[in-house]
């Protein structure tokens, strides 16, 4: 009896010690919205390459459905349950909410322990890294993706309608005329504009390019101004008067464009790879139209990476992963499989990284050329900021179904006042 007890104890002690003898592998979760049609391959490659360079870290990528809103839902539940992912993508429009309401580990905390921190922060293109900073300038997150709205168009339909595919419309008036021409001469719809059931991303570009504001830089509500009314009246006219813009969900619009039933489509540059792969016609891209000769202001879509882990080892591993994704190599992998634009210096023109890619893909030119016009995606402030998005979404739905533009926008202003005050 005693002998077997001693034997048992020895085996038990070895069994307990064994894992401690093994290499300390830290496993972290990375939450993203990159589906099979929008960058899943890039995520897989990034993870594989990162694990190669960092054998003591294992990254598990977890796709979250429902876009940035869906990811935020799941993030909320995970944080409440005490089981947050180490790193997650947070859409830029949610960044204020994340800064103020979601417990996270600010990136700036690593300045004290990482000697390469300053170089890291300075590696970004001007104006980009600020997207991850709060109002006091504290670096809380790191931007990962930048996209701008571009004009995708079907060169075959252009020719059939008597338009020149080498000269896409440059202004909103030209755009309206082109859309009408496509509808009149080919019978197909002329223009689709990206819409989302719970955010106003593309609308912001339309409004700010016209000199208007949803919220101006002082935070005042600007939706009831002549510039915004003009934007919605143009949109409504194309839908109802001209009949050249279909009033359908974004999924239906995308289906129609890829099936060759829609002449032009204003959509995020991030969808470029998907659309290029599925379009059965000659696809071209052009710049987002301007209002007359006013300067374009394009809301940049995309997300920033936050660290939500509470365990120190996981936080450190998450930080290393974020640094890799923002490195020249990481950005190259990322850009090549999506339509996002590179955020760090020295990648665009370097043949070792992305120079060849951009040279060989003329479709990317429109987005690249517009990068200087990019402005921040507006987040509504305060605890009810997320709900405020809904106000403009409903105004747009009502207007495209024939409601009076001025009345709807006045109503929207009242509702926003109530929600944001």
């Amino acid at each position: 009896m005693r002998k077997s007890l001693v034997l048992f104890l020895v085996i038990a002690m070895v069994g307990i010690a064994f894992p401690a003898l093994a290499e300390d592998v830290v496993t972290i979760e990375y939450w993203h919205i990159n589906s099979a049609t929008l960058g899943a391959k890039a995520v897989e490659e990034s993870i594989a390459r990162f694990e190669e360079l960092n054998p003591h870290i294992k990254v598990i990528g977890r796709f979250q459905e429902g876009d940035y809103g869906g990811l935020l839902n799941n993030l909320q539940t995970a944080i409440a349950a005490g089981n947050p992912p180490a790193v997650a993508q947070v859409g830029y429009n949610f960044r204020l909410f994340a800064f103020e309401q979601l417990p996270h580990k600010p990136i700036a905390d690593f300045a004290a322990i990482d000697p390469e921190y300053d170089d890291f922060i300075n590696s970004f293109i001007d104006g980009i890294v600020e997207l991850g900073q709060d109002a006091d300038g504290l670096q809380r997150a790191i931007p990962l993706a930048i996209s701008v709205p571009v004009l995708y168009y079907n060169a075959d339909l252009f020719r059939a309608a008597g338009l020149d595919p080498d000269n896409p419309p440059q202004t909103w008036d030209d755009l309206r005329a082109a859309a009408k021409a496509i509808k009149d001469n080919t019978g197909e719809f002329g223009l689709g504009i990206q819409v989302q059931p719970n955010n106003n991303w593309l609308l912001q570009s339309m409004i700010e390019s016209n000199g208007g504001w949803i919220l101006d830089p002082t935070g005042a509500i600007g939706v009831n101004s002549p510039e915004v009314i003009e934007v919605f009246e143009m949109w409504q006219a194309m839908a109802i008067e001209d009949g050249s813009l279909p009033v359908v969900t974004d999924a239906e619009q995308e289906q129609a464009f890829m099936g060759g039933r829609l002449g032009m489509y204003l959509k995020t540059s991030a969808a470029m790879k998907t659309i290029a792969n599925q379009a059965g016609f000659e696809l071209r891209t052009g710049q987002f139209p301007a209002w007359g000769d006013k300067e374009r202001r394009l809301a940049s879509g995309g997300n920033a990476l936050f660290i939500f882990a509470t365990d120190e080892k996981q936080q450190q591993a998450g930080y290393e992963f974020i640094k890799f994704l923002s490195s020249k190599e990481g950005q190259t992998i990322w850009v090549e499989d999506t339509g996002y634009l590179p955020l760090v210096k020295g990648v665009q023109d370097d043949p070792k990284y992305l120079a060849t890619y951009f040279a060989e893909n003329p479709l990317t030119k429109a987005a690249l050329d517009q990068l200087p016009s990019a402005v921040a995606w507006l987040p509504f402030p305060g605890p009810r900021g997320l709900e405020a998005e809904q106000v403009l979404v409903e105004a747009r739905e009502a207007i495209l179904n024939g409601a009076d533009v001025a009345k709807e926008l006045a109503n929207a202003e009242n509702r926003l006042n109530r929600i944001l005050r």
Binding site: T77, A80, F189, N198, P246, E252, P383, E394
Partner: protein, 300 residues
């Protein structure tokens, strides 16, 4: 010690022991969250912040003033009314019709009509997106061929609700059909033959004999359709319309979800949830009292 208790007490204890797993499950998964939700409805909280602010009845007051919520309530009523019509009346008519067809064709009909039930609502929603798309979708193409303007099913407030009803009705039809067919099988042929001898034929037979005998099944379908119409519509609404356009398709369940998980207003959402619970509780009690008078079981 156990053997010293009386038989009555022993049986009572065994009974309690056997019931306790079910009671425990209920307590943990139904009553505890219910009470917790009730408490949360008096707070303002976003589920992730460590601080909760007590605001008393404010959430309930806001509820009563919300036009979105009234629209959601009206929609919930519309869903229930339409669906009760579609998937209770139609299956009854279909079953009546099927009694006049041969056995083999009847089986084919049953399989075809039941098959939508096995498709998941999520997949069904995406499938119907293709049907409803006015640009090149199935219905759009048919409409254009006969010279009509295709409808923007999911983007026009007037038609979006109907589109969702069609999807849910299409899916649930087969399930209710099967239940009625099963209920029909439970009616003894002796009663039917006796009534036929007395002269009841065709429609009269159905209205005065078969339907009353089917009333337990119909009552069950009625209750389940009522609750189904609030829950099932959630998936197609979430996938296809997001509650819009202009709140045309949202219902009370979607609002509860949206407020809590889209906009992080857990307290307000809890207030709506508790109110719905109270209303359904009252409805249930009324149904129970009514069922004594309306439903006839074989024992009478």
């Amino acid at each position: 010690m156990f053997s010293r208790l009386s038989l009555k007490t022993r049986n009572a204890l065994i009974g309690l022991l056997l019931v306790s797993p079910a009671v425990l499950l209920f307590a943990v998964f139904v009553y505890r969250p219910l009470i917790h939700t009730g408490i949360l409805s008096f707070y303002d909280w976003n589920m992730v912040s460590p601080t909760k602010t007590f605001i008393g009845w404010e959430n309930y007051v806001e509820m009563l003033e919300s036009s979105t919520l009234f629209k959601a309530l009206a929609n919930t009523g519309s869903y229930a009314t339409w669906l009760i019509g579609l998937i209770i009346l139609l299956p009854i008519l279909a079953t009546a019709g099927m009694t006049y067809i041969g056995k083999r064709t009847r089986k084919v009909y049953r399989v075809t009509l039941f098959s939508p039930t096995v498709v998941s609502l999520g997949i069904a929603s995406v499938m119907w997106l293709w049907v409803f798309n006015p640009i090149g979708g199935l219905l759009g193409t048919i409409f254009t061929k006969v010279g009509l303007e295709p409808l923007n099913w999911l983007s026009a407030p007037q038609t979006a609700l109907i589109a969702i009803i069609i999807i849910v009705g299409w899916k649930a039809f087969g399930y209710n059909l099967l239940l009625i067919v099963a209920g029909l099988g439970g009616i003894s042929t002796e009663i039917i033959d006796a009534c036929k001898v007395d002269g009841a034929e065709g429609v009269k037979l159905w209205i005065y004999v078969v339907l009353p005998l089917l009333s337990p099944t119909i009552f069950f379908i009625f209750i389940s359709t009522l609750s189904m119409s609030t829950e099932y519509v959630f998936t197609p609404v979430h996938v296809l319309t997001g509650g819009g356009p202009v709140n045309a398709t949202t219902n009370i369940v979607f609002e509860i979800w949206r407020q809590a998980f889209r906009w992080f207003r857990v307290g307000y959402s809890s207030a709506i949830a508790i109110s719905v619970f109270v209303v359904f509780l009252i409805l249930m009690i009324i149904q129970m009292l009514l069922s004594e008078k309306v439903v006839s079981y074989d024992e009478r």
